[in-house]
C-alpha cells in the first residue's frame, strides 16, 4: 500500500547521463577546454555543479560526456595507466603492473637495447596497449614467464597527448557495445604543442577544435563561423565561454556553471565561470 501512496520518483531508476556541452579548442601555444556542469537522470538534475574536465596527466585533460559512470571510469583507467609517466621516481622492476605503455622510440625511454629487442620479439611492446577488463591471469602469467625479472623501465618524459588519446580510444573501441561515452582529449606536449583529439565511439582524429555532447548540436554553426586559427589565449577562452553559454541557453540538458581549463607549456589552469558572470546574448 505504501507504494501506491508514495510512488517512487521516476528519476531514481533512470540512468545518470551527462547530457552536456563540451568543447576543446587549440590556440597558439596550448589548448582551452570547457564544459557545462549539469548531470541529469531523465528529467531531474542530479548534480548542478559537476566538473566534467578530468585530468589524465599534468598537461593532458579530457572532457566527459554521455553516460556519467562510463565516462568517469574510462578517465580513471587512463589516468592510472599514464602514471607510468610520473617523472623520475617510479621504477617498474618486474611486470607486475598490468599494463605496459611505451611511447615512440625517440622519446627518452631508458631500456637497455638488448632487453628492448627481446621485448619487441616476444611482442609485448605496443604504442598503445591491450587492456583486458577481466584481468585475464593467464595472459599476465605468460608475459611474466617470458620476461626477465631484472628488467626495469623508467619513462622520463611526459606522455604525448596522442598516447593518452590512443589509450582512451582503445577502451572506447574495444567496449563500444557496452559503453556509451564520448571523451575529448586535449593537452600540450613538447613534440606538437597544443592538440585536441576527438574519440567518439572509438575513432581517433586530431582536430583544431572539437565539440561534443547533446548541447553541441546548437553551436555547430557558431563555432564554424567564429573559429580562427592561431587565436591568442584570451580570445580562445572567450570563444569557449561564448560557445558554452549559447549551448546552455538552448539545450535543456546543459546548464549550471562553466568550467574552463587552459593548458600550455607552463601547466594547467582551472577556472570556474559562475552563471551570473556568463556573457549575455540577445534574448526576448
Amino acid at each position: 500500500m505504501s507504494e501506491e501512496l508514495f510512488p517512487e520518483p521516476e528519476w531514481l531508476s533512470e540512468e545518470v547521463k551527462t547530457g552536456t556541452t563540451i568543447i576543446a579548442v587549440t590556440f597558439d601555444g596550448g589548448v582551452v577546454l570547457g564544459s557545462d556542469s549539469r548531470v541529469s537522470a531523465g528529467e531531474a538534475v542530479v548534480n548542478r555543479v559537476m566538473n566534467k574536465l578530468s585530468p589524465l596527466h599534468d598537461k593532458i585533460y579530457c572532457a566527459l560526456s554521455g553516460s556519467a559512470a562510463d565516462a568517469q571510469t574510462i578517465a580513471e583507467i587512463v589516468n592510472y595507466q599514464l602514471d607510468v609517466h610520473r617523472p623520475r621516481t617510479q621504477y617498474h622492476r618486474t611486470f607486475n603492473k598490468d599494463v605496459i605503455l611505451l611511447t615512440s622510440p625517440d622519446d627518452n625511454v631508458v631500456v637497455k637495447q638488448k632487453k628492448k629487442q627481446h621485448l619487441h620479439e616476444i611482442g609485448h611492446i605496443l604504442n598503445a596497449f591491450e587492456f583486458d577488463k577481466a584481468w585475464d591471469r593467464t595472459v599476465l602469467r605468460k608475459i611474466k614467464e617470458k620476461v626477465p625479472h631484472d628488467l626495469s623501465i623508467e619513462v622520463e618524459d611526459d606522455p604525448l597527448v596522442c598516447s593518452a588519446a590512443t589509450l582512451v580510444k582503445n577502451i572506447s573501441y574495444k567496449y563500444k557495445e557496452e559503453l556509451s561515452a564520448h571523451l575529448i582529449v586535449a593537452g600540450w606536449d613538447k613534440k606538437k604543442g597544443g592538440q585536441v583529439y576527438a574519440t567518439l565511439s572509438g575513432l581517433l582524429t586530431s582536430q583544431p577544435f572539437a565539440i561534443g555532447g547533446s548541447g553541441s548540436f546548437y553551436i555547430n554553426g557558431f563555432v564554424d563561423a567564429e573559429y580562427r586559427k592561431n587565436m591568442t589565449k584570451r580570445e580562445c577562452q572567450e570563444f569557449v565561454v561564448n560557445a558554452l553559454t549559447l549551448a546552455m541557453g538552448r539545450d535543456g540538458s546543459s546548464g549550471g556553471v562553466a568550467y574552463v581549463v587552459t593548458i600550455d607549456k607552463d601547466g594547467a589552469e582551472e577556472k570556474c565561470v559562475l552563471g551570473n558572470e556568463l556573457p549575455k546574448f540577445f534574448d526576448q
Binding site: 583544431p208 548540436f217 546548437y218 553551436i219 555547430n220 554553426g221 557558431f222 563555432v223 564554424d224 563561423a225 567564429e226 573559429y227 580562427r228 586559427k229 561564448n242 560557445a243 549559447l246 549551448a247 541557453g249 538552448r250 546574448f281 540577445f282 534574448d283 526576448q284
Partner: protein, 200 residues
C-alpha cells in the same frame, strides 16, 4: 511603419529536398521553399513538402477571398492565423511547419511561426527545419534588432550556409525574398557564391 528605415523582412531557405521514402535521396536541388500567399506575404515551408504545398494552396485561396471581402490587403497576422487553423485542425494528418512573414500597413514587417501542432507565435527572427538546430548558437550570438537590409541579408546567408554545411538534408541553393512596402525582391545565391568558413 512607412519610413525608409523599417527593417524589411529577409526570408531565406535552402532547398535540398530528400524524399522520405527513398532514404537519403535528393530528389531536387533547386526547389523554392518560399511560397507567395499574397502580394506582400510569403510562407517558408519545412517538413513534408506535399503537406506544406497543400496547406499553402488552401491558405492562398482563403486569403484572397478574405482580402476581397475586406477590400484591403490582408494583415500578416490574418495569413498566419489561416495557416494555424489548418495546421491545428488537421494536426494528426499533417506534418509541416511554416514561417509566415510579410509587410502590412498596420504593423509593418512581421514574422509569425506556425509550428507542427498548430502553435502561432510572433518573433523578431526565427529559424526552422532540420538544419536549424545547428545554427541556434550562431543566430543567438549574431542577431541584433534593427539591422540594415545589407546586414540582414548577410546574416541570413551566413546562417543558411552554416546550416547547410552541417545538415545532410539541407543544401543546394539559397533562396532569399526581401519584402518591403514598395516591392518584393527574390534573390538566389548559388552554392559556389556562398560564404566560406574556416574549414572549407
Amino acid at each position: 511603419m512607412d519610413s525608409h528605415h523599417s527593417y524589411s523582412q529577409v526570408k531565406g531557405v535552402s532547398t535540398g529536398v530528400s524524399n522520405l521514402f527513398i532514404k537519403s535521396y535528393v530528389s531536387s536541388k533547386t526547389i523554392n521553399k518560399l511560397i507567395q500567399v499574397h502580394d506582400r506575404i510569403f510562407c517558408c515551408i519545412a517538413g513534408s513538402l506535399a503537406d506544406a504545398q497543400a496547406v499553402t494552396k488552401m491558405a492562398k485561396f482563403q486569403l484572397s477571398f478574405h482580402s476581397i471581402q475586406m477590400e484591403s490587403p490582408p494583415l500578416v497576422k490574418a495569413a498566419a492565423s489561416i495557416m494555424r487553423e489548418l495546421c491545428y485542425n488537421n494536426k494528426e494528418e499533417l506534418q509541416a511547419g511554416f514561417i509566415t512573414a510579410g509587410w502590412d500597413r498596420k504593423k509593418g514587417p512581421q514574422i509569425y511561426v506556425v509550428s507542427l501542432g498548430g502553435m502561432l507565435l510572433s518573433q523578431p527572427f526565427t529559424i526552422g527545419g532540420s538544419g536549424s538546430t545547428y545554427i541556434y548558437g550562431y543566430v543567438d550570438a549574431k542577431f541584433k534588432p534593427d539591422m540594415s537590409l545589407e546586414e540582414a541579408i548577410q546574416f541570413s546567408t551566413n546562417a543558411l550556409a552554416l546550416a547547410m554545411g552541417r545538415d545532410n538534408v539541407s543544401g543546394g541553393v539559397v533562396h532569399l525574398v526581401v519584402i518591403t512596402e514598395a516591392e518584393v525582391k527574390h534573390v538566389v545565391v548559388p552554392g559556389n557564391k556562398l560564404p566560406k568558413f574556416h574549414d572549407e
